[in-house]
Amino acid sequence: MKGALGRLGKYTAVRLVFLFLAVLVAVYATVLIANMGGELDRIVEVQIRHEVGVAIAMNPEWQRLSWEEQEALAAQMIETQLRRRGMDEPFFPNRSLKFLRDAMTLQLGRARLIKSDSHSFEVKNILLERLPSTLLLFATAELLLFFITLFMALFLSRRYGSFLDRVFIALAPTSAAPGWFYGIFLILIFAALFRILPWGGMAPPGTQPAFTLGFIGTLAKHMTLPVTAIIISAVFAGVYSSRTFFLIYSTEDHVELAKAKGLSSRAVERRYILRPTMPPIITGFLLLLISMWMGQIVLETVFNWPGLGQVYYQAIVMNETAVIVGVIVIYGYLLCATVFLLDFIYAILDPRVRVGAGGGGR
């Protein structure tokens, strides 16, 4: 047993190192792209030269200096500005690697234009302010989605061929469209036509969202449409594939045996169908989660939801490199955590994996 634990520990460590390396690659690629391979530095440098030139031209005292003195002064001021931003070193490899180190250690630096609601330019504050709303929205949607899918699939597999079953199969192709797509329709129906739910945002205009008890009602109202959009965009395909899985498994011999033993259908379902089908279902679900983490930038934009995706889009439009890299780092770590979690859930649910790789445990 101790050997198995050790193997599991080693496996975990190797896995963590690997995942970390993967995030490293992703973030470095982002740093290179977001700085346009150093192109952004040249733009900033031109800006600094321009500003220094204007500053000297506007100052009557400096205007009295001779041309050479002015030149020297300008060169010195530009030099100071560049050093202040750390731009006296070449972008590749020195500065890019520094960016990478800062990003990986979550020293995300300061933004130029975007600020948090508390008027901070610290990227960390901006992102920390957005993270809870993103997590709230997606955790709610994912949990609902998971349980709806599971119970609906079980229910349908019990009475396959029924009308409801046919409806769900027929609707499976609707999951081809992403959440924002249904979001637009939901806004059209419930906000524009019937005017019973808000257009978007997290709180009525002019008020600050707060995570308090009194606010839950308002919050729920604002969350209804985005959460519904996410669920609609995934639930039918999810139910379809899980239902198919359950059906295939329910014809296995061990299930027949359990039925023959006279176990109640609930017990058969829970112990003989649900348990062995859980790993693939959870895998599918977590892979969906991964794609959703990143895929909902448009959803947040459509619903004006003050989350990470929305701030990421703003940052891209405003060329805020620090915020872009910050969001990618956070996405990277979130994905890592998801994949790592996947391994552990597998270990818990699947007894063959529990004792570690190599088929030990004899």
């Binding site: 192709p173 059209l188 934009t301």
Partner: protein
């Protein structure tokens, strides 16, 4: 071929497959028609230019909105001096002067008011001090002065519907007030008067001068099959052109991404060793890579054309998670004895991979391949909705983006968003239907269920 015939007969058992195929072929036909009828260069030119759409109403709904109401919504009416019934009379009054009177009659029988009124005049004259007056005669004979002695310029447009002075005199928007049947009814019950209206232009000019051209545009509320946007662009163009672009992008991306993954998985599994390990490693890194955010970033910073985006999408999905599932299938297959036989007769590695290994699994992947097409169709739309798609091409996603930024839902211009969405859904649904049916055909375990 012989193997396919019975399979074709079986198709009747899968109505959803037939429905999907019909949907897809409709879009293919529309795409071919569009590419031939409105060539690429023509489409981008019309979409970018602003000069030639002044005849279109602004934010007009599609004409088929009529079918759902008993009313007939106003179309755009254009009258000019060249039209039948229009008259131009000149009368010399001595002193080197002449009096010009032009009358433009037009019929108005629509339910509802026009959306705008605009008049254009062109004068040929040398004397700079000419003045003109414009009058409006309703069918019941009432005469309203639109302009009383305006200074005439060689070429001028008069935006009647935005004249503040006229609005103040009528107590409402000119394009409503000038058509109103009964002034006493409340706002919601206002009706336009049906009959023949006349626009009368009177001017005194020197003998050598003359009125060159005169036209009146009564902008309607509906236009074309797709309506128009805030820039008076006919939305039928993006609706049509969205089809070839969406289809091409979706299908090419699906082929590129799935095929490359499939072939590379086959090669790496056959050779095994270091290559295989590197590929697995790359796949695992790629799963962590936030693909969409990176794609969005590249699209914004470098503003690539759509084919560059396509290449990027393919490049980023080569080492997708399906690499691992293909590998599992290939590993199982690799144990089959006939590979040993092939090697024994001296077949080369690539011959074995491309003749024996890949073709064995390919059919089971067809459903997956078809099902992934909509994912890429919607990916293109997703980028376009963030205003990050191709900067020149009119597509469905771009239409939705325009509509969103103009607050189309808020202002009630639903057609602007609903039409491209339905078409997007149509393409997605078509491929998904075919994919799900093929899944049931190729996976016999699902067939009985």
């Amino acid at each position: 071929m012989r193997r396919f015939l019975p399979a074709l007969k079986n198709l009747k058992r899968y109505p959803s497959l037939i429905a999907g195929l019909v949907l897809i072929s409709i879009f293919v036909v529309v795409s071919i028609y569009t590419v031939i009828a409105i060539p690429y260069s023509e489409a981008t030119r019309v979409w970018q230019s602003s000069g030639e759409r002044t005849e279109n109403p602004k934010l007009a709904r599609p004409v088929w909105f009529d079918w759902f109401t008993s009313e007939q919504l106003p179309r755009t009416i254009q009258v000019s001096l060249a039209d039948e019934g229009a008259t131009l009379t000149e009368e010399f009054i001595g002193g080197g002067l002449k009096r010009v009177e032009a009358v433009l009659p037009f019929e108005y029988r629509y339910d509802g008011f026009p959306s705008e009124l605009q008049m254009r005049m062109r004068w040929q004259f040398e004397d700079q001090r000419a003045f003109a007056s414009v009058y409006w005669r309703k069918p019941d004979g009432e005469l309203i002065t639109l302009y009383d002695g305006v200074r005439v310029r060689a070429s001028q447009s008069l935006y009647i519907s935005s004249e503040q002075d006229l609005r103040a005199r009528l107590g409402m928007a000119p394009h409503e007030g000038l058509f109103l049947l009964d002034t006493t009814v409340p706002r919601e019950e206002r009706q336009p008067m049906h009959g023949t209206y006349e626009v009368i232009v009177r001017a005194e000019l020197s003998e050598t001068d003359s009125l060159g051209a005169l036209s009146l545009t009564v902008y309607g509320q509906v236009h074309g099959w797709g309506g128009t946007d805030h820039q008076r662009r006919d939305l039928l163009l993006p609706l049509l052109w969205g089809a070839p672009i969406g289809l091409a992008f979706g299908v090419l991306a699906a082929i590129g991404a799935q095929m490359s993954t499939f072939v590379l998985a086959g090669i790496s599994t056959w050779f095994g060793g270091k290559l295989e390990r590197v590929f697995i490693w790359l796949t695992q890194v790629n799963v962590i890579l936030p693909v969409l955010p990176i794609l969005i970033m590249i699209s914004h910073l470098y503003q690539p054309r759509i084919w560059t985006i396509l290449g990027l999408v393919i490049a980023m999905s080569v080492f997708s998670a399906s690499m691992l599932s293909y590998r599992a299938m290939f590993l199982q297959l690799k144990e089959s004895p006939y590979f040993e036989a092939a090697q024994a007769y001296g077949a080369g590695n690539f011959r074995i991979i491309f003749r024996y290994l890949l073709p064995r699994i390919a059919p089971t992947l067809l459903p997956q391949f078809v099902m992934i097409v909509p994912v890429f169709v919607f990916l293109e739309a997703t980028l376009a909705v963030l205003n990050l798609g191709d900067p020149y091409l009119p597509t469905w996603g771009k239409m939705i983006n325009d509509a969103q930024t103009q607050g189309a839902l808020y202002h009630g211009h639903y057609y602007w968003i609903v039409l491209p969405s339905i078409l997007l859904m149509g393409v997605g649904f078509g491929f998904a239907l075919v994919g799900y049916s093929l899944d049931r055909i190729f996976n016999p375990r699902l067939r009985d269920i």
